[in-house]
Structure formats: C-alpha cells, structure tokens
Symmetry: C3
Amino acid sequence: MYFGGDYNPDQWPEDVWREDVALMRAAGVNLATVGVFSWSRLEPSEGVYDFGWLDRVMDLLHDNGVQVNLATPTASPPPWFTLAHPDAMPVRADGVRLVHGSRDTYCVNAPAYRAASRRVVTALAERYGAHPATVMWHVHNEYGTVCHCDHCAAAFRAWLRDRHKSLDALNEAWTAAFWSQRYSSWEQVLPPRATQWRANPAHLLDYRRFCSDALLGHYREQRDIVAAHGPQPVTTNYVMAGWTPLDHWRWSAEVDLVAIDHYTDEPGDGGLAQIAFASDLALSWARGKPWLLMEQGVGVMYTQERMLALEPGEHVRRGLEYAARGAAGVLHFQWRASRGGAEQWYQGMVPHAGADSRVFREVMELGRRLAALPPARPARPEVAILWDDEAGWALQNPGLPATGLDFWASAQRAHRVLWSHGVAAGFAHPAHDLSGYRAVLVPSLYLMSDESAAGLAAYVEGGGTLVVSYFSGVADPDTRVRLGGYPGALRDLLGVRVEEFRPLAGPVTLSDGTTGDLWSEVVHLAGATATVTYADGGPAITRRRAGAGTAWYLSTGLNASGYAKVLARAGVIRRAE
Amino acid sequence: MYFGGDYNPDQWPEDVWREDVALMRAAGVNLATVGVFSWSRLEPSEGVYDFGWLDRVMDLLHDNGVQVNLATPTASPPPWFTLAHPDAMPVRADGVRLVHGSRDTYCVNAPAYRAASRRVVTALAERYGAHPATVMWHVHNEYGTVCHCDHCAAAFRAWLRDRHKSLDALNEAWTAAFWSQRYSSWEQVLPPRATQWRANPAHLLDYRRFCSDALLGHYREQRDIVAAHGPQPVTTNYVMAGWTPLDHWRWSAEVDLVAIDHYTDEPGDGGLAQIAFASDLALSWARGKPWLLMEQGVGVMYTQERMLALEPGEHVRRGLEYAARGAAGVLHFQWRASRGGAEQWYQGMVPHAGADSRVFREVMELGRRLAALPPARPARPEVAILWDDEAGWALQNPGLPATGLDFWASAQRAHRVLWSHGVAAGFAHPAHDLSGYRAVLVPSLYLMSDESAAGLAAYVEGGGTLVVSYFSGVADPDTRVRLGGYPGALRDLLGVRVEEFRPLAGPVTLSDGTTGDLWSEVVHLAGATATVTYADGGPAITRRRAGAGTAWYLSTGLNASGYAKVLARAGVIRRAE
Amino acid sequence: MYFGGDYNPDQWPEDVWREDVALMRAAGVNLATVGVFSWSRLEPSEGVYDFGWLDRVMDLLHDNGVQVNLATPTASPPPWFTLAHPDAMPVRADGVRLVHGSRDTYCVNAPAYRAASRRVVTALAERYGAHPATVMWHVHNEYGTVCHCDHCAAAFRAWLRDRHKSLDALNEAWTAAFWSQRYSSWEQVLPPRATQWRANPAHLLDYRRFCSDALLGHYREQRDIVAAHGPQPVTTNYVMAGWTPLDHWRWSAEVDLVAIDHYTDEPGDGGLAQIAFASDLALSWARGKPWLLMEQGVGVMYTQERMLALEPGEHVRRGLEYAARGAAGVLHFQWRASRGGAEQWYQGMVPHAGADSRVFREVMELGRRLAALPPARPARPEVAILWDDEAGWALQNPGLPATGLDFWASAQRAHRVLWSHGVAAGFAHPAHDLSGYRAVLVPSLYLMSDESAAGLAAYVEGGGTLVVSYFSGVADPDTRVRLGGYPGALRDLLGVRVEEFRPLAGPVTLSDGTTGDLWSEVVHLAGATATVTYADGGPAITRRRAGAGTAWYLSTGLNASGYAKVLARAGVIRRAE
C-alpha cells in the first residue's frame, strides 16, 4: 500500500529536506511524487540541465526508505520556453495567446513543445530510469489543456480526415448544411474559435474528442520514452471533473495504473459517497486492477467560497475508504504546504503550523492504519452504471432542450443510491460485455451508437435488468437526433415512443407519490407497461419485459428516494429506505 | 392567407422531400420559405454554383401547390468565404475577429462581402425570378450583425459627414469637449471600440443609427437586384427585440411587406398580449397594410432555461390571433425539426417524432382554420403609442440615472393595458400626424426633437389626450439633456417643471392608493394640476388642459392597475378593472 | 476655507460663463478646478495650442474673486494622440489595446505619452504659473490606470531589478519554484498578462507596487515642471477605493496637499461615518496638515443601480463635517451638470434645472456656512488604525483561504466603531512611531515585515494597547506565509499559536453571547489568556499582557457590537452601547 504525496523539495532550502525525511519516516510515508513542476529547475535554460539537486533528493529518499514516483515536468514549461517558442503558447477560442505566469501554458500540438517535452523527459529517464528509488513514472500532470491555434487546426484536420475519411462524410456528420456550414476543402475546417452566435454541436464534440487524442498522443510519447529506460509502471493523474477532454476508457488502456486526483466538497456521508463514486470509477477504468489515489486534500476541502476543515478523524476514515475500494495507494497534494505561490493556502501533510498539528497527527494515524491493512478485495460490481465521456461532453453543448443536464451528476446520483443501499456498483462503457452484471443503469446518456443499443438489447434479452433515465440514446455519436420518436436508439427495447420533451420548472407529483423534477415527457406505450404515471395519466415510468430480462424507463428526474423506489421494484436493490 | 414556414430541403436527403410535400398538402401549407441558409450549397466554392437541387425543389413545390418565398442566402457566408476574405469577417468591440462556425459571420461594410452578396443574389434572381413558384423574395435573414472593423470605421465616418456636415457640428452633437474627446480630423473617429471606461453616449447612439443604415443599404442593394428580375414583393424579417440596430420606421418604408419573427415567452393570456403587441407594431410599421408573421415557434416557447410546450390548442389559438390582427400569413420556424446543428432542439411543424404527433395535428388544424377565415379587418387604432427605436437605443446607454429603463418594456406595458381593456391600439412615430387618434401614450421616450415636441403640442391643442410617462423628452436627438427643468421638450405642454429625478429602490404608495415604483421625481406645477401626489404632497401625476385637449404626466412607474386608473380618468379606457 | 468645484467652461458656450461667475459669487465659490479634461481643447492637434479661451476664463474668474486650481489635462489624451502614438494606448491583461472614446487611454510608461505630457504641462505652466488667479496646481486626475504593454514590461523589469537586485532574489521572493516559474533571464519577466490558470500572488503584488511607483513618477515629473514656474502648492486627487494601485503613504509625501475625491453610498449616519473615515484617512496621510476634499457628489449619491438624492439639509451637514475634520476646502464634481457626455447624469452645483433648485440653494447655504466657520482644529487622534495599501492589495489576490477578505472594509469597520463611540481615530503605517497613541487597532493586515512586527511589540511593551484582527501578519511583504503557526509575525507578541484557519459559512455564537462570522481559527494559547471562547471551548478572543501594555487577538469576524464590547473591555472605548 503506497502512502505519501507530492513532494517538492526544489521549493524549499535543503536544510528542510532532513526534517522532511524524518517526518516521512514518522508518518510511514513510502512513496513521494517528485518533480511534477520542476522543469524550470531541471532545465534552467534551454538545453542546460541541473540534476544535482534531484540526485541528492533521490538518494536521500532512497536512504530513508521512501520510494519515488518520478514525474515528468511537462505540465509547466519554464519562462524561457515562452520567449523561445511563442507559437507554442496556448490560444483561447477568442484568439488571446496566453503566457507563462501560472501553469499549463503550452499547446500540446506545437512541434516545439513536443520536442522540448521529449528532450527533458529523455534526459530524466536516462538519469533516473535505473535509480533504485524510482518505482513509478508520473507523466505530466492533470492533462486537460485545450488550445485553438493554427498547429491545433492542422492537427485537427488530420484527425478529422482519419475519423470521417471524406469531406462529404464530415459535412454529413456535422449536419453542416444547417446554417450554411458545408466545407468545400479541408483547410476551411478550424477549431471552434469565437464565432457570431451558437456553435455547431458536432464540431464542438469532435474537438473534444480530438483534444483527448492529442493529449493522449503526448502522454504516449513520454510513456514510451521512460518505458525504454526502466521497468517501472507509468501513469498520469486524471482530474475527476467533467470539463477535462479525456476519454477515460481510451486513456486507461494506455496507462499501467489508473491514477486519479480527487477533491471532495461535501462533509460526512456525502464525502464518503463522493469517494465511493470516484473509487468505483477508477476501479472500473482499471478493469478491476489496483488503482492509485494520486492526490487528495489533507484534512480540508476547497469550495469556491472557502476552505473547509474536515471533522477530527474524518481524514483517516476517508483514507481507509479509498483503500477499501481498491486504491493501491493513498497520496496527497502535497507533502509540505507551500509558503508562496498560487496554492500557498492548500493544506499540506505538514501544514504551515508544522508537525505539531492535528493535520500531521491524522496523517501519521492514517499511515499507521494503512500499513496494517490486509490487501483490499473490493467487491466485484453486481450492477453497472454506463459511463461514456463523449456523451457527457455532448451534454455540455449549448442549445439543449433544458439547461442543467449533467452527465457526471446524473451518474453520481445513480451511484449514490446504489452505494447507500449497499450494492456493489461499477461502471461500464455501453459497448462493453455487460452479461456479468445483474443490472445496468443508464444515466442521461445523450449519445448512443447502434452497436451499443444492440448490446443493451442483447443484455436484456439475456436476462438483464436495464434502468434507463431520460434523454438517453436520443442522438447518434455525431449528435444527430434519432428520428421517429425518442429515445431513438432504445425505443424498441424500452417499448415506448416519446413524442415530446417537457422540461419542468419545478417538481411535479407522480402517481406513486414520488416527485419528478427538471424533466418530463409525453410517453406513448409501445410494448411497455406504465408503472407510474403523471398527473394527466401519461406514463412516467415504464417497464417492458424482453426475453428473459426487463427494461425500465424513467422519463422524469427522480430524487434519491424516488430512484430507490424504482430500483427496489426492479429488484436492483432490496428495499428502498 | 399564407400558411407554412421555413423549408430547408437541402438539409435532408431527397427521399424525404416526397413526404414533405405530401404532409404540406395534408396541412394546407401554401408558402414555404426556401434557402435562408443555403449559400454553401448554392455556391459550394467561390463562383461555382449548384442550382440543381433547388430547381428540383422549386418544381416539386410548385407541382404540389406550394408557393415559394425565396430567400437570399447572405445571412451565412460559407466557410470558403472566411478564408478568401478574412477582412470581411466581423470584429467585436474588443478587436476579436470572428470566424465561421455559426451564422452571420460577415461585415456588412466589407467590399468583398457586398460583392459576394450581389453575385449570389444576382445568380439566384436570374434563375428563379420568373419561376412560377416564386411569389415572394425574402432578403437575408434577421438583420442585426454589428462589426467594429476598419471598413466600418471608414463607412461610419462617411455616414457622420453626411449627418453632421462638419467636425465642429459632430463635436458639438457628441459633447466631445467632455473628457477631452474633441476630434480634430475625421480619421480620428472610430467605431465605439473597447476603451478604458464609460463610452460617450452620443457616439454609441450614432453608431446604432449608422448600423441601421448600413444594414439597410445591404438590404436595398439586394432588393433592387431581385426586383429587376421579377414582380414579386420583397421583404426581410425583423427580430422583435430591442438589441437589433434597425430603425423600423425607416426600414418599413423600404420593404414591400413588413415581416416579423416573433417568439413569445409567456403562456396563456400573457402570450396573447405579446402577440397583440407584436402584431400591432407590425401593422403600424406597415401603415395598416397586411404584414407577415415570418417565423414563430411551433407549439413551444424557448426561455433561457428550457423550452416550454404550449397547452393543447394554444398554438391554434395563437395562429388565429395573429391572423385576426392583420397577418397576411402565419409561418413557422421551421417545417421539419433539424436532426443536427445548433438549433436541432427547436420544434418543427413536423417534429422529430414525425407527423403522428400532437404538434403536427395542431399544425393541420391551424392550416384548416386559417384557410376558412374571411380576410381580416383589424380595427383601426383609436389610441397611439409613440414608438421610436432611436430613443429606445439611447435608453440602453450606460450611465443613466437608474438601471432598468427599457423602451420596449415600457411600450409593451402601455400596450398591454390598452389591450386588456379592449382598446384598439397602434404605434406612431413622434413626427407622424397624430390627429386621427383620440389619445396618444408616450412610454419612457428619452429623446425628442423640437419638431416632435411641437407636433405633440399641436395634437393636444387640437383636442387630443396625451399621456406621458417619466423620462420622456428629457434629451434632444443627440442625447443632450434639455436644460432648465425636465422633461425639457414637453415641459410647457405638460405644465410642469421637474427639478430632480428620484429613482426608487422599491414601491411607494401614492395619494390615490396606487403605487409608484422604480422612479419618482420632484415635480413643480407650472400650469398643470396635481391629480395624484406623493407622500410628501408633491405632484406625482398631473393634468394640464391645453387648447381643446389634455396633457397628462406620470412622474413615477405605475403598475398595470395604476396605469389603467389614470387612463380611465383620462377617458382613454372606459373603466379600470 | 476653499469652496467650489470642477469648472469646465470649455464645455459650454461663452455666454454661459457670465452666469457662472454671477452664480459663483452668489454661492460664495472661491476656488474653481479648471481644465481637468481640457487637453483636446488646449492642444487641438499635436503641438498646436489654443490658450485664448483659458486666458479669458482665468481673467474672468480672477475678476470675480474666484481663485483657480489649475489642472494639467493629462488624464485624457485627445483623439489625435491615439493615431499619432498607437503604442501609447493602454493594453489589458488579455492583450486588447484600448482606444480613445472615454478617458484615461494612455500607458503611463510609454515614452510618447510621457513626452506629450511634459510638453502640454510645460506650456500650461509657462503661461499660467504667474497668473494671479492660479493658487494651486492639480496634476492629472484620479491616477489609477494600469497597462500591460511592452513599455510596461521593460519598466517593470527595471523596477524589479531595483527592488530585488538579483534574479535569484526575485525567484525567491516570488516563490518562483512553485509551478516551474523560475526566471533565468530578466527579459522573461512580464506583466501579469492573461495566463492559463491562477496567477502568482507575489507577481501580482509587485505589479501593483510597480504601478504605484510608475504613476508616481509621472506625477513627480509634472509636479517639478509646474513648481519651476510658480510658488503654488501642487497636488493630485486620490480615488478613495481599494482598486487603485496607489501607495498613499508614499504618494502623500510627494504632494503639497493631500486631496481626495469622496463619493459616499450610504444615507444618514452611515454617510457621516464614511465621511469621518475618509477625512481621518486624508488627515493621517497628510500627517495632520490640512487636506482638501477635491470632489464629492452634489446632494446625491451614486450606486450601481441608481442615483439617490440626499435628504434636505444633508448636503450642508456633510460639507460641514468634512470641514470639521480638517478639510481646507470643500469642492464638488462639478460646477454645472453636463448636458452630454458619459457623466451627463451626475448632479452639478448648478443642476440641469438651473439655479432655482433645492440643490443650488443648499450649495449657497453650504458656502455661507463654510465662510463663517472658524479654522477647524480636528482632534489629535488617540487611537490609530494601521493602514497599509500593499497589504490591502495582497488581500485582493486570488486563492486566499476564503473570499470576502477586504482591507478597506476591515479598516472601515474598525473606524466606524471608534467614531460611533466618540473616539478620535487616525491611521498609521505599521512602521510609524506609534508611541503617541493610547491604542492601536490592526484590521486584517495580511502582510507584515519583521520591522513592523518589532515596532508593534515595542509599542505594547511601552504601555500600548494593541487589538489585532484575524489574518494579520500571516505573511511577509512578499506574500510568503510565515511558518510555525499563524499569525507568524505577531505570534509571540499576541501569545497565541494558530494551527488552522476555519473560515465560516455563517455566524457562530461565542461564549460571551456575541457572534463570530466569516472566519474562525484553531487557537492555542502560548502566553495569552482566552477572554472569549468558541462553542468547543477553544480560544476566540485572547489577551496577553506584555511589558506595560496589552495585546488582544480577535480570531473571528465580529460585528459592530461585538467589536465594541472587546474595545470597551480593552479600555479603548469607554462603554459599548
């Protein structure tokens, strides 16, 4: 079990290092993530390296029994890089080119940035690939930076040619005929830059897909370099939020170890539910293999308004929860709270007040408890929630029938009901083999391919229980609405034909006394039975038996108790409390 | 009576067209607006035309008894245009040049855009000006795009020379001495681009006027081309909202048929009141001639938060209401709901669910009912509300004595009280001959010329009843405050001298038990009588008899019942209920 | 006693001037601030001057007994300047270069702007330095414009070299190691331009310091020019708000007379408290010498939503209050309300309604009353509130433990309690000699140097009473957190060690029945006694006797009554009512 956190000795005088390792030993720290933002220290000017300090850190950690998760520093190019390669700075949709002064100022498609990345990573791998402290490689940090420059435009076009093959196919996939957007040559295709009015949703979605692949290309390039210099597992850390353009299924196939950064914002049980959700996602992305909690806050949560301290003991309880859910390690941001810089008010394992503090005592307690744990055997999920980042991105497009649609929130709500009723839950891509699950829940999953829809039908026919929430399967993977009645791809399976959406301004009472919120529909039965109706008698919740299984449809937004009631009736949970 | 909507066959496979015309016949559709956004299909690359599909569409419609309102496609230049003429892309006030990816990406003052517009419109007119299906020309779409580029700067200067004749006159009109803005050469005059702090209000206003004229120039150019190729009436569709820089009186003199796009956002009676307001505006702009409802939603309303379905039957009732108020046609956006693109979630006459739907059944019902209607004879307006787009724009300037002043809302409130009391209302420009109206209401009409003020005085002297709301006539057409006491231009006529404005943070009770809100004033009587007073005894509502008529002044914001009470007392309505 | 206001005759026809001076005499006006925004009139094109109108104005005023506070016009370069020197226009952080059309469109570090400033100021000083009307020079207006252009970048680097001496010291002061921001050459250092994510707080703070000095350099240059041509005192007017990058202590050492522009936004007693606060600040910055109220509203207040009239008599009462608190003059913006321009709705001493108005009658009344006043002898402050603009700027940085921290508001709250309890209050810089005050209050003063902390310790040892609010002294002047427990610089003196901050989402009840809000802390006693505790028994308010004095610490946000209770207990006020 790994225990530790981000360690940035390059931000402290060397005399602090001795205290660091002493405290690490006291706390049972066995893994330090080193060098995440060290580029300006490692390569103070272009092509000039300074490894002396890192040599001393690696040796010191090794001598003290602390292993190193060695980071490549590419998430924050140094100031010299800006001046040497202005074309490699990221450009916003409105054309503003950003400069250094924060972090993540690069365009991942800029040749100069790619070359600089390769150079510094190669130097690092050559020097430390065989160092005995190096047990893991941490590539980059929190991928997610998006750019709209001309390098990106060129790369996007190449990516589109590969995806759509022909301009005609692109025009068709993007419904480019609408608003006179048909492209007559590839060079006319641009990133979604500032335009006059609402942008094309398929264009926006393909750009997210492209960004995911472009960033993944940068990751793979680094992974291959470090893998060539040592046997250590290689990973990168995911930001657990809907804004990142990362297709987690694709990415997780390319990392040796799924790693997540997870920051909660609810206290008490709500926080534990968030931890269960993130852990189950990570475990699912890892296909059941161990995964790593690469970052979490230390005894504190951050909201837009203020930082909030956890209750005494809560940090320990949370750390154990991650471990029980399959984390191969519980790490923190960061070892020592910074004196300065943009995150100086983030709590550290060693806070500003020093080791004589509640926080550090809880860190020691957590280290002790984790070391004593037997290996976790997280329960095999009985129930799957479908997860598709692409469908989640599409739900962030403008111009949907209602605001407030949110894939992450929808999946999280479904997960929380399972979690609070003690059901082992996991996540699956719609195209996965689902036969092992006794039930499959579909959060508002806007886009669905024909193949995925067929898979779900086969799953139900084979005896599965499927529970589909509203606004699922209504569009194809290019965001085109499936015609003839919603929810197009699932209409036959669910045995309904939805004629209209009726988003709600407030809650309505359903026939079983539960409430529907945010959304409702005009549902016609076409094989299904209505189990719950709206005030006007129209079906709200329906059920259809198909083959050996059952397919449920929820045409309105249910709160936790309403959702639990359905799941209980469907036999997914034992009883709704 | 025209019945139909926007028809975009170029966005659908040809096999759908057959179903389209069959359904059109079933619904009684007799007019289809074709080609609004077809430029990229009509001219796939510069100078290369593809009319084959449109030939087939025109013939098919004609063969099925559907007439065509043929649109020029200039509201959305194709992607090739961006690359060929980057200088013709619109520039925001902050200098960001927009690109294609939405619609309306052009600068109306860019020579390349004007040339491309002329070319494609000429080709279209040559080919279809004599086609038997063509019964109307729809130029462009929803004019309103504003740009701040150097082409605009040059055109703005030419327009200003024409308006103000000399730089000295410009400096005087703009009060340029304030904040050291005196211009010493014409080339120093720019569009209102991003500046350090609050902009000059006269500068902002003249730019709106200029934009109205510049857009109108583009319209006229196209109108003259199509008119040279056929006898059909020519029009364009107005967006019914205060942000568009269109002087509707000037524009309406240049169209053969006033046409509006009208989207409501209130259900029930509120929606009917919105329809009455828009219809009466259109009828007034058309000087009593028939006008056209070019676009409306289909059984649905759109708000910022969500789309809202109308109650059953409400769509039919609304369509009949437009017709009863003088619409020569009731059209929709759009015939068939789009599968993709930025407006894929706008409802169509044929919705995603298909023709077997409440929406299409109501469309058919509306078509049937409209066809059976006798020609409408909208009541001649007895009461006029003054309408002046320029004054409305000026009320959107920053730095007024209170936020929340809104000309459209003010006029709409006045209209709604008349409407709810069964009074036939119309709109007139302050400079019009008002003698035919038994009463004239003046919403908060910030700017007023000497001539208009004299006209109002003559109107009252001649026996008219004038009811003026606060913040009317306080400034001249160049936004300069008229000195010596508000409301400058109307002071003598109203018989008051307002010493100070006292905007209100909340409602206050007036002497007659009604409430004043948003605004109050320190009013001195100078010939008028106070009919209602503030708590401190100061006049709130005043009346002055002048010649054969009466002039009322409302120095505070009245709600509907308070306004009705005044109008009843003034004899404008029979009784306030 | 000066009485008058901004006078802009160049914005009016000359026939108005005669009425102006007649009314000025009637009102007892004896000082007019002339020419604040007259550049485009004084120098209509580059190098061409027009002084005729100003000659006539100066003579006219002089002949009528009105003295002139002659302004340099550099706060608003004319339109010709923009075209001649585009590189001298200000650039926003996102790179947008602003143009004329408002005011303050210049970069203070642009050589062309500096040269143009010197030229016009020299011409003005040569012509009017010896004019008998000229009794004061008013340089520029409301300094505060910030720019991010390349001229600024170069000047910033020079300033940083001077402050930090070496790049190593800069990297250390800025904690540049965090997020890989270490600079390896000076040319890499830029203004804080748009970047990817949160900016470096020390970088932001140094840029504010630099802007203060850069603007001060511009002021000094002009001051020296006018001082070379006449014996009159020279000043400039401060905007009383936290956004201006002016270090008021440094600036006040360079002006002959501290002058403030003060706009209130509370009626009644709240407004008087705001006046007391601003006056005491001005008096303190002036080190007890007379100061000048250069601008105030005329009988009216401006909020974001609306302008609000003062109650009858309130304007007079306010003017007398400024005078009683040491103002050597009570001036207004502006003499005559503008007809046009961006501030046409600002009230004037002569309002739009003319001299027959409540406002002008109150102006005359105020003039009469001020003329009859004996010289003010403002009470010598017994209690000092520490004031440090730099600490205030740092509190505006992003990423603090809670939002809503505000130095100006914090100081104002402390001042208001003293004011409402009749205690003569003043302001002092932390490094000042504090021995003359019987008590010193420290609002949330984020940054503190070692020297200042030592000074405060000496002050307490010597018998003083010190009352420190939360989040004071936690960081050094480079925004680096002082380690080992908060509030670092004051820990020993206060006898506490704060382990954690616990910002509050809502109020909590303290042991003495008062409430804490916004903030709380985990406080350990280390020499101090807890006088008030939190619900969990932890110290909330503490006291430590040190030498002959006492140091109090308030670890939570107190409302006025809670703060008064502490001050009463500490003997700073007699009794909390």
